[in-house]
Point group: C2
Chain length 437, copies 2
């Protein structure tokens, strides 16, 4: 690790000048005095690297050394800390972080995919080279979720961690609830407003939330978690009709990431959930994120704030830089990296829960008897059933909602497969887990 | 500062073995392995001091060195860190912390009164002797509020900070809202349940919340704040009738501490407030605390959790110990202590706001005209007025509620003084500030 005396500036090399990179430079300039006072030394950007030198980013970068190749930031002797804001789990972002850590240079990154996918190897690289790797901006934007889990709750044994980790999904689900509109329409509006990407799949299919959950779980349980073992489900299948049923039942629908250590092992899942409408996390709407953690001693903690955007993300990146300037460094997963491989979450179908099941069924006598017989045969016990009359005379199908008692996932999957095969059922059944948190 | 090699245990001397002290020892024992892994070394209690050696605290302290005088923990050469859990802004707690810092020994404390009242002098003592002073447990129990403001949000200029900082008051106000019972009755129940002290004044008169707000404001604005300049109002005057009116108007009543840096200076106040019933902080009920902060870049952050109790408080104390073991230390107010005196908040009457004013007035024609004339003459503009019919035939008085537009505090105080002097008004007027946050 590069050593600097406390009075010399901490010299930064920033790779990636998109929204977050430009926002970070703007913040470093606007808050320069405040940052010097808090960090005990100046934070000074000396070099940058991005794809297009001529693009107008709303900030003047003409006085900064420009590297065409981001990897050259590592060999630049004037750069004390490499700030990686390129993104992506592979390619130049990964190469840059690996090269910097190998060279013993501290790295600050906002890259959730990189940490989720390569967190185990990067922790080892960081430890072997005494080069800190900080990534507060990778989870929940401006909410200091990583610091809270890794330091604030360091004294407690955590039982679960997670939350509303994707602002795009939360925005879409909130608007669907408020307007009664269908998914496709609301997604289109979100894209027009800049809340969803042109290719929205990373967000709406739950991948982004799963990256963040993988990181939170690794911090909470002190060991990297294998990203490919996390169960991931997105929100495409949720219809306007599900919000109507959820309201009737007293629930809200949220995309939750939750990781729990159970006797059977780690349960880690991103999926849409029904939550009691008055649960604190059910109140977190729009683009806001919420992170929850529960510990044996501390009980339940919830943090809420903006999960994305240039300002909040720049704040998180710069808070990491202040920590480095203060000499506060910490192993990647909060404990010294061990030789153990990443922790794998239990496979799907091994847990239990209560479920909401929405079917489109033929509107004729005997159908409900057929379906409830399947559930009985699979050992799934029903708590309630709701049916809405057909809204549309042109279709012979009506929505039917079944709410189960606590049951095993395996039994539920078995039942769904059998129900899906019934001739009276059209469309794929929509299953949503019911959470109490 | 005592220097310890990273492989040697961090040896603790704990003063005060009440709920929190005993809870901390229990946590240190139960989570010993986890703490060693996270801190990079063992945390080991070697000595304690408390008033009564024979009391059963549910933990075995017979193997620990016992000091009759807590000050002897400082001179005990086996003690690396002094943990002060005696409490109170003066007496043995203050003497112990001052002696430890003067001797260069790190101190961890849960003592909000001490930090609020002597924070300026203690910061100097800590800096002069290179002895860290950490106090995460002093504010909002298990919520890592101090770490969030001082480190997590270190990159941003904070605009305001505060929240629901006293669980006893929040519990009482929540039960009053839910049951419609009056203050005295609910306080009595809270005392029976152990949620309020036999002498509840520190809590219900707002002193405890003001201690915590003083600390949060000092951290947010990078300079200790003079406790005696903070405006403090408690909840004794709030009646069941106010909850009825608040509900009608779409508000909830919470005791909020809020500190804002304005062009006129620091506004810092603990007072009951009306909040829109759907505001996130208005949803925080019972003994839970919430801390809010708003920064220029990060926007609004809210943290919610248990603000008191042995478990959460022990977690916060121990997280500070882990920080010390990791070598993470930071100046008391987040920046190097300067020679400047503590920042004083603006005096009462210098701010502005919208207000709820509840009067008990004679139930006869002309009364409302008299009162609204006073408001007009004082330049206070009304937004709405509500009157409930007399519930009780035996009294000639009825409650009258006036809600103002934004107005100066000075005008409001002037109007209240004049209204209070009207012969048609009985009881003291109850004024509650309306907040949007």
């Amino acid at each position: 690790m590069t050593s600097c005396s406390n009075s010399s500036p901490l010299r930064l090399g920033i790779a990636g000048l998109g929204t977050v990179g430009a926002g970070t430079i703007r913040l470093l300039r606007m808050n320069a005095d405040l940052l010097s006072a808090r960090a005990g030394r100046k934070l000074e950007v000396v070099a940058v690297s991005a794809r297009d030198r001529t693009r107008d980013r709303g900030i003047d970068v003409s006085t900064l050394r420009w590297h065409e190749n981001p990897l050259d930031l590592v060999s630049d002797p004037d750069v004390d800390v490499v700030v990686e804001l390129i993104g992506g789990s592979e390619g130049p972002a990964r190469a840059l972080v690996e090269k910097a850590l190998s060279a013993g240079k501290p790295v600050v990154t906002a890259n959730k995919a990189l940490l989720a996918v390569h967190g185990s190897a990067l922790a080892k690289l960081s430890a072997d080279n005494h080069a800190p790797l900080l990534f507060e901006a990778a989870v929940a934007g401006g909410i200091p979720a990583i610091k809270t889990v890794r330091e604030g709750l360091a004294a407690d044994k955590l039982l679960h961690v997670g939350g509303i980790l994707n602002g795009t999904c939360n925005y879409i689900l909130t608007v669907m609830r408020e307007t009664g509109k269908d998914f496709d329409l609301v997604l289109k509006d979100a894209q027009d407003l800049g809340y969803a990407e042109a290719d929205p799949s990373t967000d709406i299919d739950g991948i982004d939330a799963a990256h963040k959950l993988t990181i939170l779980a690794g911090l909470a349980f002190g060991r990297p978690v294998a990203f490919d073992s996390v169960q991931v489900e997105g929100i495409r299948q949720i219809g306007a009709i599900d919000f109507a049923f959820a309201r009737t039942l007293g629930y809200r629908i949220k995309l939750l990431g939750l990781a729990r250590l159970t006797d059977a092992g780690l349960q880690a899942r991103v999926a849409p959930c029904l939550l009691p409408h008055n649960a604190p996390i059910a109140q977190v709407d729009g683009v806001f994120n919420a992170v929850v953690a529960e510990g044996e001693f501390v009980g339940r903690i919830m943090l809420e704030g903006r999960g994305a955007g240039a300002g909040p993300t720049a704040c998180a990146v710069t808070a990491d830089l202040v920590d480095i300037a203060r000499g506060h460094t910490i192993p990647v997963w909060g404990v010294q990296a061990s030789a153990e491989p990443a922790l794998r979450a239990c496979p799907a179908g091994t847990g239990a829960g209560a479920f909401y099941l929405r079917l489109m069924v033929e509107d004729r006598p005997g159908v409900i008897a057929d379906i409830t017989a399947v559930l009985r045969d699979c050992g799934v016990s029903l708590r309630s059933m709701l049916q809405h009359p057909a809204e549309n005379e042109t279709t012979p199908y009506v929505p039917l909602v079944l709410v189960t008692h606590q049951t095993s996932e395996a039994a539920m999957q078995d039942a769904i497969t059998k129900i899906d095969a019934l001739s009276v059922v059209t469309d794929s059944p929509v299953m949503i887990r019911i959470e109490t948190a």
